[in-house]
């Protein structure tokens, strides 16, 4: 791991207040879209709702983590630590979903 001097690079392209406000505007827009699609996608298009929402919230999540929490500019070590925990958590959730919602049952089996 070559994290030793990673911190040195951090300070350079620090986003300023303006960037933060822009991000906030984007976040607001995404939230608005989320709520909108919740009402718009009805009937047959309702099937699209889940994927759309998942993509949108992932986007929001990423924006906050990258910019507000500075992961984009900070040491790689922090990203590694956080993403590792995140991945294990996601793996656990997906495994639970698969096990409890019958995705692992052979069709036609018991």
């Amino acid at each position: 791991m070559s994290v030793v001097h990673a911190a040195d690079h951090a300070a350079e392209h620090h986003p300023g207040a303006r960037d933060y406000v822009i991000i906030a505007a984007i976040l607001t827009a995404i939230t608005a879209v989320e709520v909108a699609v919740y009402y718009i996608l009805q009937g047959p298009t309702r099937a699209l709702l889940s994927p759309v929402l998942i993509v949108l919230s992932t986007l929001k999540f990423t924006l906050v983590v990258m910019y507000y929490m500075h992961l984009k500019f900070d040491s790689r070590l922090f990203t590694t630590i956080f993403v590792f925990g995140l991945c294990v958590a996601i793996f656990m959730i997906l495994a639970f979903v698969a096990i409890f919602h019958g995705f692992l049952v052979i069709p036609g089996g018991a």
Binding site: A24, G85, V88
Partner: protein
């Protein structure tokens, strides 16, 4: 053992002289590494709770189910408040990094205030659900919904206490540019609580059952 009899006095601000950490192997600050590691760990806390919630999702045998009670516009507003508190938080950090202590105080208060709006909204929402017949022990839906969102609410509340403590320190003049890290670390925690809500809002409220 003389010092025992006389209880240790709690002194206000720490002398700044020693707050700068020693040389570290990575050049990073110890407390910041600690906070990030904690957040990695906190992913698992929420992961386990969300997993518990999802396991029962849609298998509720109760009426009303959580989703029958949701008021999406209402919750969107409080979700928005929390989202904007993150903006206030980064602005607070930017302020102290510039040495602008006045803005620091304003933004810290704004952040905490938006957090309080969120918590207030949650309390109001919970009360409404209770009145409509869903509480902590209503089937698995009530149980998992309240415990998941309540656990998050507890995180927010602790964050508010933290922010207000920082605000008090700032008012006493104990926070200064050299201690921006104190604000940065609180900010990391606060943003994390925000991103967890981004997930909860989507998974619990918006996703179709």
């Amino acid at each position: 053992m003389r010092s025992v009899a006389a209880a240790p006095p709690i002194t206000p601000a720490a002398p700044p002289a020693h707050t700068e950490e020693h040389r570290t192997s990575t050049g990073l600050n110890n407390r910041k590494v600690l906070m990030w590691t904690f957040l990695g760990s906190d992913c698992m806390f929420f992961g386990a709770l969300i997993a518990s919630y999802i396991v029962y999702r849609g298998k509720w045998q109760q009426t009303p189910t959580p989703n029958e009670l949701f008021d999406i516009p209402y919750t969107s507003v409080s979700a928005f408040a929390l989202l904007m508190s993150s903006l206030a938080m980064v602005l607070a950090l930017a302020a102290i990094q510039r040495g602008d202590l006045k803005r620091l105080k304003i933004w810290l208060l704004t952040t905490a205030g938006l957090g309080l709006i969120f918590i207030g909204g949650q309390i109001y929402e919970f009360t409404g659900f209770g009145a409509e017949g869903m509480n902590l022990s209503t089937g698995t839906g009530g149980t998992t919904f309240f415990v998941l969102t309540g656990f998050h609410g507890t995180h927010v509340s602790l964050g508010i206490i933290w922010l207000l403590s920082l605000y008090t320190l700032a008012r006493r003049g104990a926070l200064h540019q050299g201690r921006s890290l104190d604000v940065e670390i609180a900010g990391l925690y606060w943003h994390f609580v925000d991103i967890v809500w981004i997930i909860i809002f989507t998974v619990v409220y918006l996703l179709p059952v």
